[in-house]
């Protein structure tokens, strides 16, 4: 009996299981891009600003600080990753959080801060 690295219960079976339930490469990459979009403080600030409802670019810029061009680039990243959506209203483009999944993730992230488990 020498082929076991781990003495604990059937880990080899779990490796098989892990391999079977592993999402495909493309899905993993897509999730990675989306988490990356959420990982930049400047973009997180935008999302927390949008938690209260839709805002136009100029007001987002006021709320998060920084300049308009930077905010616009960040908005594009968030939108490309379906984290926010936009609609036109007169001269302005109003941005808002895309869906509930995003809101829940933000909530989990905040709760996780004070979690001592």
């Amino acid at each position: 009996m020498h082929d076991k690295i781990c003495e604990s219960v059937d880990h080899q079976k779990r490796v098989q299981q892990a391999l079977l339930s592993m999402p495909c490469e493309d899905d993993i990459n897509l999730m990675g891009y989306r988490f990356k979009a959420l990982s930049e403080p400047s973009r997180l600030k935008i999302l927390f600003a949008l938690e209260g409802g839709e805002l136009c670019v100029e007001h987002i810029t006021e709320a998060v600080g920084g300049n308009q061009s930077a905010v616009s680039h960040q908005l594009k990243t968030l939108k490309d990753n379906r984290i926010i959506k936009s609609r036109r209203s007169g001269k302005n483009i109003l941005y808002s959080i895309s869906d509930n999944h995003v809101l829940i993730m933000l909530k989990m992230a905040k709760e996780h801060l004070n979690c001592n488990e």
Copy 2:
């Protein structure tokens, strides 16, 4: 009446609201680091491997491919960000997902893939 950029409802009030409910700088940065930890495909693979339960480093390495050193570095990043935890069992260190917040985030990320909202 020239001081309104946005014709839509009380956006200026929302800017104030956004500023008030904005998490502090440190918390934003911490959340950023944690999302960044979740953003790398190699680390996401590890987490999906661990969704089925705890695994030792060697088995994680088998499940995700790559070499032991890279996996060890990734595990450190995940652990530093409280996304996973570890315990010793004989010769091995067994890693597992830290808490429910992480599991829910992974679930949201997967659901978000097939979300056409």
